[in-house]
Symmetry: D2
């Protein structure tokens, strides 16, 4: 019998999750092409990835409503989904709704609280941290049992949390366990509870958000112990993708970057939450580190993110790069990126679910370094050069291919 | 005694050559930094490149005047050279003037004729093709003798020629020799005569221009016979550099490029000559081939080049990339490049001279495939992906390093 | 009884006409706002414009099919119309279909012939020029009779024709009549026949296309005789609009424009027809004249239009303005315009129909100079400064207001 | 004997003042053209403006050094002045140095204190406010006497101050006088002291900076009493100029602006001071008010200013305008402005000096409303539409012309 894999999405009714689910089911129904999935071609075919159509979806969200409603809202506001497609997939989406629970959480920060409402937040924060983790574990177990799954990949697609101040309590599993035992609320974020639950059950965990609380060192320690693959953090889909694809050119041509200013404007829930300075700082921190790593020096740089409601999910970025060439002469490059974030991210989510499955099958645990190209802040890997990251992924595929590796 | 290398520049008083010479002498005099030369750092240090300060320069040009005049004109019009620096290097530049001859030529095309004047053209086209080649060979021999050089690298920095219709006469050395014997003027361009002279004397030849007449198959045959390394064609400095650094990102993210429109505007002699449709076609042909090679399919694309006198050498390019992602959603990226072409090209010229020397020392003949990253139309190499080209160069450096290779 | 006005559109199933008709009926049905019509507010309310909902539409097109089909195609390809809106207006649009005839034509040029097909072209070119004009006149008369109209405004929204070489035969009505009598096909274009028919019946004529054949001097002579108001040519909706709004700033700040390069890319039928050099020249000629008129000198300038199928009606323009300020210092401004041409043009069409009605009511004949702000090549007016043109329109409204002028 | 006019510049060694002085003397010496002065042509010639060459310059600055040094620094860093020109004007500039004093000040704010140094600040803040004003008055009197001037125009070109919280003490002259009598330091800024001194001596005052403390209502009361013309505030030279030239187009085409995001990056002293949030708020406040005034509604908008040292005085702005047209369709315009602020501002300073002289001669006192086009926050005038402002200036010239008005 073929292997059955589930994907359990945290934030399952958000814009990205909805786009991912509509896309996956559209593919399953022959209504969308696989050509926009990066791994659906050589050399990655050697990895024998699970077909997208076979993935079983579930998850949780603090947000109410149905996937069809969420999809139609995106269609109306963003125009990135076709309302007729959402309509035609109504049965599939409604079936997934049955596997989407309410969710728990902790220490949300003011922006998320304002968005989901005080009542929902209060409900999600009951009772102790340990009991909340147990709730998630039980939900995962039930999902597995209901669909007779061989494995579940937990993917964090929730809103960006404010950064958590990390300390020794997050650096060893023993200390983290003690913290959880005393239900030390201010020392966790929701994402940490989900990561703990997933990994403690031996499931792979993918942190697609910038939240730094999700994959703390103690979680990596737990992952190593339980054999759980980990990937993250913060999907690289827009301005940072371009930045890490372009910066190597400046380095390799010995064009010295004097300043790299990047301004992002976007609307949408994501934009609204990022317009809160608390949450913004997590994102900016994640976006700004790549440049110095690639160039080998730290140019003057700035990453701005501003909320422009009318743009919805159409993210626009202007980057201005001032650089110095031969004889100290100064020149300029600018780029303007107009991309729809959820459209850019959804295929990455589908490929990461499948890569996590491959890694787990192959007995790999801890950081999936070969997925660095998917993330702004790759876990366990200092390589930010997009092309070098792709080379790492190709090498992984080649190694997997050499090792054989039929999908059971 | 250390090896002495000469560089003999065709078009030695043009904007690029002047910038290269001012830069090289500024480096020699401690007035400019080496940091903007791409190869002045690991892993390329393993190649033990000739110090820039030790290169002996000469060449030829149909254009009259001194290098100091040419440099001051660039300073006044372009502001890409500092007039005080040109002034301070007056002695060095005047010394090089003594090694710059008049030059020969053939079948110039109307734009170059209009620029240099009918008299100069007529003089340059006397007498037979064979005698003109002999004139160049004699100039090279004299340059070697005068400076007791161990080798001379001939670099074509002349204006873009109209493309030459190639046929069987250019495809074998025997046929080319017959063509030259009968002085079949319409079947050659100036660049072919220079390439022939250089290679026939066993010297490396670098074609930094788009001219397709320079390195025809018969020249490669001669190069193989005489052990002469060859590199070219068409330095990759601006829009095409960015294009070939960015296109891999679209490929690797499975973002389908629907159209890639590129518009270049520039002033300057270069722009004036390219404003002639004959010469333009050579450039556009060279610029437009990279995309299909990298992407694996041929998107709608366009490369425009327009002459805008007031911009001088400040080349501006706007590229508009329309692409399709997940679920067929369409998005846009645009970039604007404002670069000074001669500033961007000069360090490449200096590095190519030194790479040609390394190749010759190491006994390599024919296409220097590892220099693909320097060119829009790399000779003997189908790789256009800039990052893959850089990997080739790094591999060459690593191999050279492993092989030892002290500079004699 | 209130005045009843018809609008008879040449090219009634094209993208612009379809958008205009969907918009007009959406307004009539309370499904769209009037706020995007420039004249729906002071001081223009003094003109007592006909309500949009009361205009009766008809016209002709060589293209087959229904308006609903045309609207749904725009919705699918361009996303500039909402498919549900088109659907909801099905009855209204079908009613208009009944008033759209086949159309005649002459000397189409290769691009339009290729688009509509040889058979259609042959049919449209029968029999003599005089008889074709009579066909249009009969259609107008029937339209008037069927709807008991007080007036009909004929609006040319057909595809851009190749420019017609004008000579003395077009400069006087007597010569034009002789030309028509001998059915001198190469000396006319379709638009001229429509203009002649409209004006000969005393109806206002609006040439919204760049076609120079529509309003030749002989037509103006006929318009004066028959008391027909005339407006045109070439709706000013995108790059030229911005250009004529910005150029006065450079003039008034004494910033000398050195070069103004404009590059337009668009898909769509319009783009396909303009990709033919014949038709393109008409457009470029129309776009390029404004700059010298506003600045008082002729800077280096260029207007490019390229066909990019994937963009459909989403027109993108990049303009690069190089300018010189105090002490000869050079600076740059660039703009990028991403607009949907038919969305930008449709409200202008509706306002022009209503202005033509006002002019006719008020007994004005010949060029409607106060509509200069609507056009790239305003007929009978040398003013290209957009703000000065708006001042002319405001002055007209003020004068009309002062003169009283209730709508009968 | 012809009228002799002095211009006394506050911040006389800053970038803008230096550029203004080099330019004025270059014009006087026939080394620069008058064509970049907006008022050197009809209809403004009717105003019979003072020749630039005849203006006598003086002023004060907290900054040490000579004008030649300041000019050469700009030439080296910015390249907006030609070092040879500065050199050739050495005698003229040195003569002006003799008329530049040390300056006084009050309540500078941390950014300016950090820039000029604590010692200078302490010295400038001695002794009482009344005595500091007297110091300025004495300097003006001495300047007048030394050069036998008929009038002096005082122009504030100093660095942007943090905004001052205005209250009733600034709203009447009596209250302001009381405030000064008790030397209430926190209630003033340097600019207020200069404005008071100028106006109390009956001299015209031009506030070219955004500082809101300069022209408080009490100063306008004093100006009315002493017959002193006043102009300001905040020269309109870059992004705001373009914004106020473009926004009328959106208004007049009924294109509803949904959001207008503007991002400015600049280096230089100006940028450094604006990088302090205190001072920045003054600038942003000044830049952001124009949009709502022109459009008649307040779109979502943002004005960002970031310090990018490598850009020096080359100010770059990216504006992204999201707008809605017919049927609610959304479109985008973007512009990129790359201008040198001091080059753009200097001719405005020269024209304002001369307009202030005209106004004073003509017996006008208080706000020079006709100079609105020069300023981001025009004093005494709500008109922000650049074209309407230009119409006001033209009307002023026409009225002056009609009134006769030979220069005595």
């Amino acid at each position: 019998m073929p292997r059955r894999i589930g994907a359990w999405l945290v934030g399952a009714r958000g814009g990205l999750a909805t786009t991912t689910l509509v896309g996956a089911r559209a593919i399953a129904r022959g209504r969308a092409s696989l050509e926009h999935l990066p791994l659906e071609r050589p050399p990655y075919t050697a990895l024998q990835l699970m077909p997208v159509a076979d993935i079983v979806f579930g998850g949780c969200d603090l947000r109410q409503g149905s996937l069809v409603e969420a999809g139609l809202e995106i269609a109306a506001v963003n125009r990135s989904l076709d309302p007729r497609l959402v309509d035609d997939l109504r049965d599939d989406l409604t079936a997934i709704d049955a596997d989407i629970g309410t969710g728990i959480g902790a220490n949300f920060g003011r922006a998320i609280e304002a968005l989901v409402g005080r009542d929902v937040v209060v409900a999600a924060m009951r009772p102790t941290l340990r009991e909340r983790i147990a709730t998630v574990e039980a939900a995962l177990d039930a999902f597995v049992a209901r669909h007779r799954l061989d494995d579940v990949v937990v993917v964090n697609l929730a809103s960006t949390e404010p950064p958590l101040e990390l300390d020794d309590d997050h650096r060893s599993l023993a200390r983290l366990d003690a913290l959880l035992d005393r239900s030390d609320e201010p020392k966790v974020r929701s994402s940490l509870l989900y990561a703990y639950a997933a990994v403690s059950r031996g499931h792979p965990f993918v942190n697609f958000t910038p939240s730094n609380a999700a994959v703390v060192p103690a979680i990596l320690e737990l992952a190593a112990r339980r054999g759980a693959p980990i990937a993250g953090s913060d999907g690289k889909t827009g301005e940072t993708l371009v930045k890490t694809a372009l910066a190597p050119m400046f380095r390799d041509r010995a064009l010295r970057v004097l300043s790299w200013q990047g301004y992002n404007i976007l609307g949408d829930r994501d934009g609204r939450i990022l317009s809160d300075s608390e949450n913004l700082s997590a994102k900016v921190r994640s976006k700004d580190q790549s440049l110095a790593s690639i160039l080998g020096y730290r140019p003057h740089s700035h990453v701005g993110i501003d909320f422009v409601p009318s743009l919805d999910d159409l993210k626009t970025a202007w980057d201005h790069i001032h650089f110095e060439g031969f004889l100290g002469h100064r020149m300029t490059m600018q780029f303007i990126w107009q991309g729809c974030d959820s459209i850019l991210a959804a295929p990455l989510v589908l490929d990461l679910i499948r890569l996590a499955d491959v890694a787990h099958r192959r007995g790999e645990a801890g950081p999936m370094r070969h997925t660095a190209s998917f993330f702004k802040s790759p876990i366990g890997c200092d390589q930010h050069d997009f092309h070098a990251q792709i080379a790492m992924l190709q090498a992984y595929a080649a190694a997997a291919s050499a090792a054989g590796g039929s999908r059971a």
